[in-house]
Amino acid sequence: MFEEVLSGHFDALYRTALRLCRGHEADAEDLMQEVALRAFRQFHELREIEAARSWFFTTLMRTHLNRVRTAKRHPEIAIDDLDDTAFERALEAWQAPDAPDRVFDRARLADQLEAALDALDPALREVVWLVDVEGFRQREVATMLRIPEGTVASRLYRARRELRERLPIDRAQRRHRTQREG
């Protein structure tokens, strides 16, 4: 029964839709409506119920991408993906972070992470969300988004780096660092 299967994944799909729409609830609901109908019409494609989660997320990501393209709400390609050489250069430029502060407000940090996710480039946001939050394998995400696995890896690295830079704890650390250096 389609509705039963959808119901089991509804919350995860909704929260993902909400992040794809940067927290706009009406847009997320609109997206969910379209995803549910599309999935319902293509339910016969799903051969194994174990694959339902990945299949629903694929439908969600592709529906979202189509909507963005059709609505031209965002530029066609927002980021330049890195080739292997550029990715290696970026990896090599990695710097060990300072030890985290002992005392900080986790609830506030969670809010800040939400804001930081919404501020990310959409291409980076969807990858870090699918891999780090929803727990999909990078290979699965590559299939979902129809991009090479290496691109998933480089987007993921950049997304994590940007999130870390935007979190308040790191801003505080950078301030200290600047003061020390200055």
Binding site: R15, E29, L91, A110, G150, A153
Partner: protein, 274 residues
């Protein structure tokens, strides 16, 4: 090997990779390079931190309801000639939900039944016909009871459910059998009370003491078997509330049957029905 190359080749989370000479070399590099080991550990730590802090709101119940309502309409009106929005949409969705829920139960009671998908289609089609069936709008139970007698092959007693406004009744077809739907309003929401003759496969494990619960398309359904009839309450209400209302209906029905005359009358009606 450069650190950047080693980090790309050993990038965590890519799943099984072919062990090439380059990968072997990268692993050797890792054993001697503390910075690269630190890098890999840091990536895992950042990923875990994001995983832990990420916002995970649940979908609002209203969103869930609207999505499942739209799906229920889609089952009844596939978009062959463009999308139509029926003024009866809410009622259609509710009736479709109860039929789907009942189909699920039939399937569950007969796990080997591979034909249940077709049953759903047949049930949905019955449903479309049933929406054109007669209905009566009246808050007077006696009037509605009289209207139903002769239209359904069993006696209908309309319980006056506490805190529920009775609004009328209509006929329905389910699984080829004619039933009655009593309409109430509870806590501002529509509540349907389905009464149908029990078919051979209907809810075998349900009794007046044992309810079957189900949630389908955003609606809660509580069903039971009593006196040869399948009873089902369907509504967009909390399950506990629906069970409470179902218990009330069963109590009313039991109290009624304590009268010997009533029992005889029900038996006679059932004999005619079978």
């Amino acid at each position: 090997m450069r650190c950047g190359t080693a980090r790309r080749l050993l990038w965590p989370g890519t799943g099984p990779q072919p062990v090439t000479d380059a990968v072997t070399e990268a692993e050797a590099h890792l054993r001697t390079c503390a910075a690269c080991r630190h890098f890999l550990a840091d990536q895992t730590a950042v990923a875990e931190e994001i995983e832990r802090l990420a916002p995970r709101p649940v979908a609002p119940a209203a969103v869930r309801e609207r999505v499942f309502e739209r799906l229920a309409r889609e089952r009844v009106h596939p978009p062959a000639g463009g999308r139509r929005v029926s003024v009866r949409a809410a009622g259609l969705a509710l009736a479709a939900a109860v039929m789907l829920a009942l189909s699920v139960w039939v399937m569950r009671s007969e796990p080997g039944d591979v034909a249940w998908q077709q049953q759903v289609a047949a049930v949905a089609e019955d449903h479309v016909r049933s929406t054109h069936e007669e209905s009566i709008v009246s808050t007077d139970a006696a009037t509605v009871q009289q209207w139903l007698s002769g239209r359904v092959p069993f006696a209908v007693h309309i319980p006056m459910i506490p805190d529920a406004a009775f609004e009328g009744a209509r006929l329905c077809y389910l699984d080829g059998r004619r039933g009655a739907v009593l309409r109430y309003r509870v806590d501002g929401r529509e509540l349907s009370y389905y009464l149908m003759p029990a078919g051979p496969s209907a809810l075998p494990s349900a009794t007046p003491e044992r309810f079957l619960h189900g949630a389908e398309s955003g609606y809660q359904v509580v069903a039971w078997h009593d006196a040869g009839l399948v009873h089902a309450l369907v509504g967009n209400l909390p399950e506990a509330r629906l069970v409470e209302l179902a218990r009330f209906c069963v109590e009313r029905s039991t109290a009624r049957r304590e009268s010997a005359a009533e029992v005889a009358s029900i038996a006679a009606t059932l004999r005619r029905a079978w």
